[in-house]
């Protein structure tokens, strides 16, 4: 190990940019920061076109590329599960057996 591989342990450690999800959810980094702000307050939301009433998901930034008049609306917290998975160091979920049936 060379000298420059050794550091004093700091009080706080700045994570690599991509691993720091919260910074990437801020207004300076994304046009859909309102989605993340709502989520932080426990509310799932997305954008809706005021003209035609269509919902978009994922949310579009305001104003939309098409010039649509968009607004944030709350989404319900219950729905039908369409598909799901997990990734990473997960416990064995006995998925093989369940997925066969």
């Amino acid at each position: 190990m060379s000298d420059h591989d050794t550091i004093e342990l700091p009080e706080t450690i700045e994570l690599p940019r991509l691993l720091d999800f919260y910074e990437l959810q801020s207004a300076a980094h994304t046009g859909i920061h309102e989605f993340y702000e709502n989520l932080r307050h426990g509310q799932l939301s997305t954008t809706r076109c005021r003209d035609c009433g269509n919902l978009q998901f994922r949310p579009h930034r305001l104003p939309g590329v098409s010039g649509d008049d968009l607004e944030y609306v709350d989404l319900p917290h219950e729905g039908e599960l369409f598909a799901f998975s997990t990734v990473g160091p997960v416990l064995r979920l006995e998925c093989n057996r369940r997925c066969r049936s």
């Binding site: 690599p16 991509l18 691993l19 999800f21 990437l24 959810q25 980094h29 994304t30 046009g31 859909i32 998901f57 994922r58 369409f82 598909a83 799901f84 998975s85 997990t86 990734v87 997960v90 064995r92 979920l93 998925c95 093989n96 997925c99 066969r100």
Partner: protein, 395 residues
């Protein structure tokens, strides 16, 4: 679209793929030397155009402007056209397609196509490399919420099983088949055969997908020499001619809003364009060998269907009935696929085309040799499978 001039692959070379103690530059030089060694009486001084497929050298190897880097390392003075292509997992095929179109358009006669990726960083920085893979899909929504390739393809597998009754064992059959081929490929990252049971018992990385349902994190490179027909006939009578190519992209880089989670209609569009251009009217009968994008076992099953070989939902049965085996209707992934060879992103499409060229010439080990192939296909998907790229080659 009419193709004005014919172009063909006249040679190519490969590095060993895997977790290599080699730098990005080392990989380029290894593949470059192997490529030039494969075409006698030709060298760097004959190359007019250089096309480099590489996806994330900025993050994996801290280098940009990589096409001129390749020119320097291989001693090529380009005098017609030079570019790097980035189309995620399809970057290698994109490089080959642009080289082909440049020749077809009469801009040049001799091109080098090189694909390279260094994905295993030295010094324990794998989390950084893994994090980099999440910015292939929409970073501000999919990426920051932790979605990368395995869970997306896991959900495709889940929907395909739910909608069509595809079984977990059928997914495993794809992995076992391709890894059996890779066991006889000296360049492959994974050269151990695995049984269906071993696939099912491997680590549940992203259920229902297990570890052996997934391609690797791979260092590797591959190169091709592409020539106009006139030039090609001066150096070989065994060129692999590009006869058709197609691409399609759905207007989304996010997994949200895709037209389907159990199928890829863009693959059908891209394949139909390529078949039409190449004069292929019945792909199941006319194709002898295909290198298709098995980034995950489910991908190959969906591709059997959406490349137009079987009805929707019949993909699982296609592998189960041995119709994608070496002696089946179409020999699929005799190279070993991404599941067996690994997936150094920018190099994969180049390696697939090289495999078709080698199969046409019978220059592969007998254990994975396709009997007398004359028509071949390569296919890549990229990102959330919103993009599909297909190319047809003829002996």
């Amino acid at each position: 679209m009419a193709v004005t001039r014919t172009a063909g692959i006249v040679g190519g070379g490969h590095t060993r793929w895997g977790s290599r103690e080699a730098t990005y530059k080392d990989l380029i030089q290894e593949a470059g030397k192997a490529t030039f060694d494969s075409v006698p009486d030709m060298g760097p001084e004959d190359i007019e155009g250089l096309f480099v497929g590489s996806v994330q050298p900025e993050r994996f190897a801290f280098q940009t402007h990589v096409a001129p880097l390749v020119a320097e390392l291989l001693g090529i003075d380009v005098d017609a056209m030079i570019a790097r292509t980035e189309l995620a997992c399809a970057s290698g095929q994109a490089a080959l397609r642009y080289a082909w179109l440049a020749i077809a358009a009469g801009q040049l006669d001799v091109a080098l196509v090189l694909g390279v990726e260094k994905m295993n960083p030295p010094g324990g920085h794998m989390p950084e490399a893994q994090a980099s893979m999440t910015n292939v899909m929409d970073r501000e929504f999919d990426g920051v919420n932790g979605l990368n390739a395995p869970p997306y393809f896991a959900m495709v597998a889940q929907r395909h099983m739910y909608e069509y009754g595809t079984t977990r064992e059928q997914l495993a059959l794809v992995s076992a088949k391709n890894k059996r081929h890779a066991a006889h490929n000296e360049f492959a990252q994974f050269q151990d055969e695995v049984t269906v049971e071993e696939v099912l018992e491997s680590y549940p990385l992203s259920p229902p997908l297990c570890l052996y349902d997934c391609s690797g994190i791979t260092d590797g490179a591959a190169g091709l020499v592409l020539m106009s027909e006139e030039k090609a006939r001066e150096v070989t009578d065994e060129a692999a001619w590009i006869t058709g190519s197609g691409q399609a992209c759905f207007a989304s880089n996010s997994v949200n809003n895709l037209p389907s989670m159990s199928g890829w209609p863009q693959a059908t569009t891209a394949a139909e364009k390529a078949y039409d251009q190449a004069g292929v009217t019945d792909p199941l009968r006319e194709l002898d060998v295909a290198e298709i994008h098995d980034c995950f076992s489910i991908s190959e099953i969906v591709e059997y269907e959406d490349l137009g070989w079987v009805e929707k939902g019949e993909g699982g049965r296609f592998v189960e009935d041995g119709r994608s085996a070496l002696d089946g209707d179409i020999a699929v992934n005799p190279r070993g696929g991404l599941l067996g060879c690994g997936h150094p992103l920018g190099a994969t499409g180049v390696s697939q085309a090289l495999e078709i060229y080698d199969q046409f010439r019978g220059d592969v080990p007998a254990e994975r040799r396709v009997p007398d192939p004359e028509t071949g296909l390569i296919h890549n998907l990229s990102g959330s499978a919103s993009v599909h790229s297909v190319m047809i080659l003829r002996a």
